[in-house]
Structures are given as structure tokens and as C-alpha cells.
């Protein structure tokens, strides 16, 4: 008895995505930079010899040239190779630490919000108590008390992840709290769904933008923290982590000696990575928070 509803043409997901990106220029730019960096790293890993990222593998102190597009450093590293490997390692730490932090945060956030009661109080209180503690300084304490031989890319990631879960926990918890009050959860219960199905099938998918934003935020924090530790000389020294390269250049007086490319390249890469992550994070925030989301 209803007349045909006028079929409004709904653009495909991709078109909408692209259109959204056009509006959310920050997100687009961030994603673009990240893609470019990924491309650089992936192609780089295929093309360059990772061995050249380590000392004495190339002539010394050469400014950028055709043969060595990014130059070489005091120790005879081919900086192109070093940047490729360093970028890869930085990404690895970032993704690992960010992943762990987010995962723990999501698990705790869900547990806390969904089950409530003393579990919630405990987790929430723990988060609130830990939040004011300057995380980076604690990470410094941890890294500083480790035996240097134990400091690797992976321990770095763990150190960074260790105190990174409070943020996501609180964000996810808050979201689940509001989400579980939403009526579709009640309806799911009425439809006979169990607690776990509700968490995973009803609530989780809706939190994806938040989780993604939290993840990007975590990756940012992790990259920043690992960089910070490395610049303080607390990283795995032999590895060409971007922070380590800057640290090494600093301690060899690179600027004064006129080897400007040595510290500037990793600095520039770091700025790109962190800037892009910041942009993406901001964009995702916007996506997750419909009030901020702009429409045309």
C-alpha cells in the first residue's frame, strides 16, 4: 500500500570516503604522507641493502649525491639505507607499542565499562591514578635501569607500551558506557544475545572509529616516546632508529662540522611521521565525534 519510496541514489562507500577526505583535508593529507612514507620504506627495503644502514659500509661524511642520495655519515653509514631501516624500525616500534597499548586499553575499557561494579572501580581508579604520572619520565626510569644489552627494538616497544594503556582504556570505557546505555543493546538482549556477543557484535563495531583514533594516538605516543628515549641515548644504540641517528649526529657535532644532512634528514622524517599521525588522529577524532564532523 505504500507507494514506491523514491529511490535516492546513495553514493558508494568509496565515493563517500573520498568526498569525506576532500572535506577533511587534514586526514587526507595525513593519510597521504603516511602512504608516501610507507612506500618509501617498502620500496627502500627492497632496493637498498640493509647492511648499509650500519657503520663502515660506505665512504664517510659525504653530502647527498647521485650515488648516495641522502649522503653518508661520520660512521660510514649510507643514510638512505639507514633512513629506510630506521623508518621501518620506528614504524615497528610504533605499531607494536601502539597495538599493545590499544589492545590492553580496549580489553580493560570493555571489561571495565561492561561489567561495572568493583572491576570498573578498580580499573578506573587505576587509570585515574596513573594518568597524572609523567609517563615519559617513567619510561626513562625503566629504560635507564635496564641492562643495555637487553635494550632492543622489542624491549623499546614494550617499555613504551607499558604505561600507554590508560588513555585508550578511559576513552573506550567512556564510549562503551554510553554505548551500553544505547537502546540497541537492550534490544540485542531482548533478542537473546549473550554478553560476549553483545560486546563483540553490537558494541565493538561502533567503536571502531574510536579505537582507530586511539590506536593512531598510541602510535604517535609510541613513536614519540621511542624517539625521546633514543635521543637521550637510551635506545638500542647500534640500530639506525631515527632518534639514534639524531643522537649520534648530535654527539659528533654534525651541525658545527657542516654535516647538516645527517641530523636534518631523520629530523625531517620524524616531523613527517609525527605530523602525519597528528593529522590523521585529528581527522579520526572528527570522524568519531559526529558533532565535530563537518558536512560540506
Amino acid at each position: 500500500m505504500t507507494p514506491e519510496q523514491q529511490s535516492i541514489h546513495h553514493p558508494s562507500g568509496l565515493t563517500l570516503f573520498l568526498r569525506y577526505m576532500r572535506r577533511n583535508k587534514g586526514l587526507a593529507l595525513g593519510v597521504l604522507i603516511l602512504l608516501a612514507l610507507t612506500l618509501f620504506t617498502v620500496i627502500g627495503l627492497v632496493v637498498v641493502n640493509p647492511k648499509h644502514a650500519y657503520p663502515l659500509s660506505a665512504p664517510l661524511k659525504l653530502p647527498p649525491s647521485l650515488r648516495y642520495p641522502l649522503g653518508t655519515d661520520f660512521f660510514g653509514r649510507n643514510l638512505l639505507a639507514a633512513m629506510v631501516v630506521g623508518m621501518w624500525q620506528t614504524a615497528l616500534i610504533g605499531l607494536l607499542a601502539g597495538g599493545i597499548g590499544t589492545l590492553v586499553g580496549v580489553l580493560l575499557g570493555f571489561t571495565s565499562a561492561y561489567f561495572g561494579g568493583w572491576v570498573d572501580s578498580a580499573i578506573r581508579t587505576a587509570c585515574q591514578i596513573l594518568t597524572p604520572i609523567p609517563v615519559l619520565l617513567i619510561q626513562v626510569v625503566v629504560a635507564g635501569s635496564l641492562d643495555k644489552r637487553d635494550v632492543t627494538i622489542f624491549t623499546m616497544a614494550l617499555i613504551v607500551a607499558m604505561l600507554a594503556w590508560m588513555g585508550p582504556t578511559l576513552v573506550i570505557r567512556a564510549q562503551v558506557m554510553t554505548m551500553k546505555e544505547r537502546q540497541f543493546v537492550s534490544v540485542a538482549k531482548l533478542s537473546g544475545m549473550g554478553d560476549f556477543s553483545i560486546i563483540f557484535k553490537e558494541i565493538l563495531p561502533n567503536l571502531l572509529p574510536f579505537i582507530a583514533a586511539a590506536f593512531v594516538g598510541q602510535v604517535f605516543a609510541a613513536v614519540f616516546a621511542s624517539f625521546y628515549l633514543a635521543v637521550l641515548g637510551l635506545g638500542p644504540l647500534r640500530e639506525p632508529l631515527l632518534g639514534n641517528i639524531i643522537w649520534a649526529a648530535q654527539s659528533q657535532g654534525a651541525f658545527f662540522n657542516g654535516w647538516w644532512w645527517w641530523p636534518l634528514e631523520p629530523a625531517f622524517a620524524m616531523i613527517l611521521i609525527l605530523g602525519a599521525l597528528a593529522l590523521v588522529n585529528m581527522g579520526l577524532d572528527e570522524l568519531a565525534n559526529p558533532r565535530i564532523r563537518r558536512s560540506e
Partner: protein, 572 residues
Amino acid sequence: QEAAAPVAATEIVPTSLPDVPRNQTAVLAWGVAGGSSIGTTNPWVLPGYTHQEGNNLMWEPLMYFGIYKNEFIPWLADSMEYTNDDFTALEIKLNPEAEWSDGTAVTSADVAYTFEGQIKYETLPYHTQFADLVDSVTTPDELTVQVTFKEPAPRFKFEVLTEKFDTGIPIVPKGYLSEQADPTTAPGRDEIPHSGPYDIVAWNTNQKILDLREDWWAVKAGRIALPAVKRVVVVNILNQPIDTVAQRIVNNEFDSSVDMRAQIIGNILQQNPEVQSWTGTESPYGYLDWWPNSLWMNDSLAPYDDVRVRKAISLAINRDLINEVLYEDAKIATIYPFPLYPNLQTFADSAEVKAEEAKYEPGKYDVEQSAALMQDAGFTMNGDGLWEKDGETFDATIQAFESIHGDIAPVLAEMLRQAGFDANVNFGTDAYQNMVDGKAGLYMFGHGASLFDPFEALNLFHGKYSSTIGSSAGNNRFSRYSNPEYDALLDGIASLDSKDPAFVSGAAQALGMYWRDVIDVPIIQWLHRIPYNNHYWTNWPSATNVGLGTNGAFWAHTGMLVIAGLEPSGAQ
């Protein structure tokens, strides 16, 4: 006994400070990380006191030693002689003009008090030497001190009583210290009477200001002319990047600074022609320190207990490459565990030593031979190109210090890695501890021993110091090498004078054993490359202007002589 609670030092804030123009001020960049406690001027407050960073301008020893002239420089003492042949008695005659800043004379009582303090207080640096060797200290009159030893102590005068580089003791005022509740904790500040030419007038975390004391006794005594430098400002550059410090020297902000890496000092000289180094504007810019560095190995820790492995490591070191990469082709790499000061150079050039060198080829670089040795020792090369045994590579992490080995350690590690050793660098604060405990296998460290003859350097490897792993290796004797044959050789030459031909041939033999057994792998001579800015001050020490013959570091015990010798350039 329970140590009394130390009194914390505090800033010294001047009530008013006379204006001293820049051209009468020497500005020194002080970059000793960690710093001393501010306000601690009492040499007995340890830990806390350091003679570096300007305190050396306040304190004086009995004698200094001019290493480049190879002679003692009498200071508070006019003479200091062993009075018998077996080196068990020593007499010190003080200069009658010597005077504390409060106007009282420096007397034998002060010297005796200084010596007895070393015996009494465990925390003082020469406690062991005094407690083990000194039998009695007597003061027949105001200017004479007599010391008798429990056993022959031929090196006591030089090693302990004379100040050179960073060793030796200053004489402290009995009058002031004996009135303190605990002379090892009273900070001293600007109150403690001292005999040196400068008074501390201001001291905080940023800087330390010392002003000239015009009534300095040494001028009256004719030891030296009144210094032209009216004020010394020691600026704390803390952990400022080395670039900044270099640039500030170029900008004539600093007159001198801590030593620098070869590259940087080269650039400083280029950018500011007024700045000079020890060797003028020529590489290697620095003067020879007494601290040649080796790649030490823990000779009792597997697999470093296998001489084949040690030799293989030695063969993997390319000394030419080190010179090229790090030192602009200056000949810094070495094969000796001692600095080539005049006397030691003569020893190294002796026929006996040359013969040993030809036999063991200590400086040889040969990766293939190295590989052959490793295979012989039961190692195989794994897929990563690293030597392994029983499926595992062995830990070849080099323990080193970032501030001084930041350039060489990574290069060494990489050389080892290229020869198949699983090498890495540890610049951690635990690096030194790992050397002391012997838990690690490889360390970058110096031999702070011989200055005059090779005995002290060779003595570092005497079996009696070879402590077991886990217990600490005393006095930087890290090799844990033990060989009765070697010990016997050393014991045989211990009491001989260094000019004695028997000493030379014995020492050459021991050096041969050192090379044969690759006790450690000598890497580089240690240079101090200090920039000297002639803009305001001239007459800096250099290879062509050795002055009294002391080294040119303003922070060494002899730094006072460097500052006191400066002449104004006339610049405004």
C-alpha cells in the same frame, strides 16, 4: 665506623663583585658531566671534591711534574729526596715563603696532617698507599718532614706526592681542618684557607668565579710571576651540545674548553684563526695523554680465555682505517699499552722491543688469518656471517663510555662485526661496572699507568691482581690474566732502575708476552685536543711552547700553571 652525615654544599653568592674587564678574565668551558657539589672546596670531602673545574687553582702540591720536560717542578717543597738507597726514607724541605691565604705559613705540621689524614680516613684517595707503605711521619722542624716506609717505595714520591695529570695530593691546612668536627665532610666553601693563587668568589650551577689573590706566596718566593689573569670564570656547559660549545669558542666567548674530537677542533681552527691547538693548526691537534686505550678482554671468561680468539679479535682491527676514519690520517692507533713519552719512546725503539714486535706482529690486520684462528678454536660461521659455537654466537659487546668513546667504539664494533664477531656497544652507566666485575668480555679502557718507564703498565697484568670473575678488579686491572712465567719476569725487574739494561730486556720480554698472549688489544694513543683561544690570552702551552713542561689541560692538577702563565693579547 659510621660515617658522619655529610654536610651538603651550597652556592657561594657574592655580596659584591668588583668589575673585571673581559680582557683580564679567562673564560673556561667546564663540561664535566655530573659536576661536583657546589661549594665543596675541601679536597678531603670525597666523594664531592674534584680538582677539576677550578679547584686546582686553589690547591697546591709539594711538587708538580713537567712531563714534557721530564722534570720535577718544586712548589710548596723546595726539595723532596729519598734519604737512603733502598727507598725507605724520604725528606721534604718546605719553601719558607709558603703561606696560606689567611696569612699563616705552610708548615711541616700541615704536611704531616695531610699525610696522617690519608692514613686515617678510608675515603681519601691515597689511603691504601699511605696505610700500606708509610711507617711514620715526623716533623723535626717547621720546614722539614721526614717519612719512613714499611718497605721500599721508589715510586711514592712520583706517584703520590707529586701532582701531574690527575694524580697526586694537594697539601691541606691543618689549622682549619683540625677544627672541623669531621674534616672529611666540611665543604670548605670560600672559608677554607688555601695556598693557591685564586679565591673562589662565586659559585652556582652556571658558573664558578675565581679572583686572583695578589698576595700569593709563590710570587714572593720567586716561583712564578704574578698571573695576568685577574679572574677565572669556569662556565658550566653541562650537556650542551658540542656544536654549541665549539661555536662559542669560535665566537671568542670561551678562551679554552674541555677537549674536543679531532673533526670539531679542526673546524674550530678553520673558522677562527685565533684559536690554536697543542700542535698549532696541524693535525692531530692534541698532546699525548698517559691513557692509551685498549680493547681489553676478560682473559678468564670463555671464549676470551682462548688465546686464539683473542688473537682473532686483534687481527680483525684495522688500525689504518681507524686513523683514516677518526683522526684524519694522524697516526693515533697504537700497539703499546703505554704512552710514547720521551723515555718510553726510547724503550719502544730499543732493539729488544723491535725484535718482539717482529715476532708477534701485534698491529697486524688480517681477516683471513682471524677466520682461520676462529675455525681452529671450533667456531663456524653462521648464516648471518657471525661466528658461532653450539648454535650460539658469543657476546662481543664493547663496554665503553659515550662521552669519550662515542666515535671509536661504534667503529670498532663494526670492524669486529665485519669479521664475524657479534659485536655491539654499551655506553650505559653500567659499562664501567661490567668491566670491574668482569661479567662482560670486551671493554674499551685506558692504561693509566706508565709515564716514565713501562713497569706500571706491564704490572697491570700481574697475576696477583687477577681477581676472579664477579669480584672487582682493583685499580683498573681488568684483564684477569694470570701467568706465573710473566709474574716471575716482572718480579725480577721490579726493584731495578729503569735505565738498567736488565730492566729494559726484562720489560721487552714481558711486552713480548703481552703481545703473544694478546692480553688486550691496544688500539689508540689518547690525545687531549684542547682549543686555545688567543683572542684575549696568549702564551697557551703547545708543542713548541712547552713552558714548564706540564700538560696543557686547565682542569688537570697542573692547570694552575697553565692559567698563571697566560699573557694578555692586548685585545679590548
